[in-house]
């Protein structure tokens, strides 16, 4: 068994709204990511996947607040650390975070190389300019980015190039965990493919040790990550390998989600895509019992009362459902 790079235990974070209401967007989330592995997070908008990404950084600013739980990166617990400490010692070296609009984060009046200098000097001011430039040039070369990008201004780059540049800047210190929150959603498919190739290269070359990839595009997730976790209403409802999750989901919510996949392939027209009726619960006052009960077509009276934990299904899979794997498979077959 390989080394565990990221371990999250019972992480709970909340937003405090202007009217002083608490919204638990990430509720008791626990999972592990092994070295060299990538984990995808899927779910509807508002299910807390982006909040989870923010929370994992350990760098909280209002309205997001840390409540409880541990985030352990390579044996080092970063939860509850001083934000300044996190910024100096964790971000960049241990964890790198790429949001969806990362490409708009570059100051248009500075050259790309200046951002790299900033990142490195923020962690070690003693490194010489030449060393930084050498490192940057080497990194860009191995990642198939044109070298002259370093001396360009962000406005001179296309959207896809900008996103790739940002990714290489934020991983310049070879972080142990890369958190990518929809890094390619704002791009066209061709640029998206290049971004994915780059992330793939980063993993292959060992510049990043593990990755969490968040997107609502399931076909993309299937092609990028080893494992997939499905989130619903701030909780993880199921986790399994990408193949298992896409082709053989167990939890009724994952089942519904996977039923909505559309890809331009032979056979797509023969299968009717499914919808999950209803809307996710209000996280200001989440319902008792299973949070998916309201929308689940296999719901039982007990679902609305009993709180379920993530339970192992064997084969490395976990699911959060009252019904056993066999019962669910039986139910799916009868449809």
């Amino acid at each position: 068994m390989s080394k565990i790079m990221l371990e999250v235990n019972g992480l709970t974070t909340k937003y405090i709204t202007r009217y002083n209401e608490s919204v638990y967007a990430v509720n008791d989330v626990s999972f592990q990511v092994e070295e060299g592995k990538s984990v995808g997070i899927a779910g509807e908008s508002g299910c807390g996947k982006s909040t989870l990404a923010l929370s994992l950084m350990g760098y909280y600013f209002p309205p997001l607040h840390y409540t409880k739980g541990d985030i352990i990166i390579d044996g080092r617990n970063i939860s509850g650390m001083d934000p300044d400490d996190v910024r100096k010692n964790i971000l960049g070296t241990e964890i790198a975070y790429i949001p969806q609009a990362a490409m708009n984060a570059l100051n248009p009046t500075r050259k790309v190389i200046r951002f790299i200098e900033d990142v490195i000097w923020a962690h070690d001011p003693k490194i010489s300019k030449k060393d930084i430039h050498d490192l940057a040039r080497e990194r860009f070369e191995t990642l198939n980015l044109p070298e002259d990008t370093l001396n360009k201004y962000p406005v001179e780059l296309s959207g896809g190039m900008k996103q790739r540049t940002v990714i290489s800047i934020s991983t310049i210190l070879s972080p142990k965990v890369l958190i990518a929150d929809e890094p390619s959603s704002a791009l066209d498919v061709t640029s998206q493919k290049m971004v994915i190739k780059m992330i793939h290269d980063l993993m292959e070359l060992g510049y990043i040790k593990s990755m969490i990839f968040i997107t609502h595009e399931l076909p993309l997730l299937y092609n990028v990550t080893d494992d997939i976790m499905v989130m619903y209403a701030g909780q993880i409802v199921e986790r399994g390998s990408a193949d298992q999750m896409i082709f053989d989901p167990i939890h009724p919510y994952s089942k519904g989600l996977m039923g909505s996949i559309l890809v331009p392939e032979d056979g797509t027209r023969d299968v009717k895509i499914t919808a999950i009726p209803g809307t996710p619960p209000n996280l200001k006052k989440p319902p008792d019992g299973c949070r998916f009960a309201e929308r689940c077509q296999y719901v039982k009276s007990q679902c609305r009362v009993q709180n379920m934990e993530l339970a192992g299904l064997g084969n490395g899979r976990t699911s959060r459902c009252m019904m056993s794997e066999e019962e669910l498979r039986e139910a799916y077959k009868n449809e």
Binding site: V189, L218, V224, D248, P264, E265, A275, P277
Partner: protein, 281 residues
Amino acid sequence: MSEREICLSGTGVSKVFGFGNRKTVAVDNVDFNFYSGELVSIVGESGSGKTTLIKMLLGLTSVTEGEIQFLGKKRDIRTRSKKKEYWKDIQAIFQDPFSSYNIFSKIDSVLLDCIHMRGGRMLPKAKKIEMMEEACRFVNLKYAEMTNKYPFELSGGQMQRLMIARIFLLRPKILLADEPTSMIDACSRATILDMLLNLRNETGMTIIFITHDMGLAYYISDTVYIMERGKIVEFGSADEVILNPQADYTKRLLSDVPKIHEPWEFSKRNQTPPPQTPVEA
């Protein structure tokens, strides 16, 4: 083939913004024939001119060059009253449900406008409410819950369904749907698509569906047009275009879209082919 009737067609349609050095050609000399009752997809990436084309078809922007024929005759929308007549036959659903509503007026007014537009201004109030109830039922909303509400009190999916209810009341001959599902979650997408298909079955209207999602276009449409930088590079039946593309652009686009059964260039799954036993029945 012969009994298919062309309801909207265009020859040499172009749209140019600006002039001189700052000239940009958004739609470049495009020909198309949309047949009655058919579901056409126009697929293109951002900047391909598909939204401009839709605006021209709707008569919201002028056509720089070329001619659009509506029901076999040259389209004439030069006066306000003619435009109003035209809009009885051609309607649209827009991409972003959140910006499709005037947040200062109540939802009822949206549906009421449709009844008025269909000449129902003089109908008794009870009849109007009955019509609105029927429309809401069609899109699986409860009129009683919708009435007296402001748009921002609804979810994105509900808003988009209400847009379909609007089309249900208007019953135009042609519906232009500009990426109606791109802003809402995948789980509610199927509902919206089902409703559009039901609408077509019930009224026989032509639906022109704009999307950047190849999978979606393939799933839903009879005919697919592929647009690249203002030009139509390929069109034909969905199976022809998606499964057997001829144009280089279409081929590239298709190869770049991540897939699940077929291999994808930078996929992690390339080494291990997926089990060929999809659970979906």
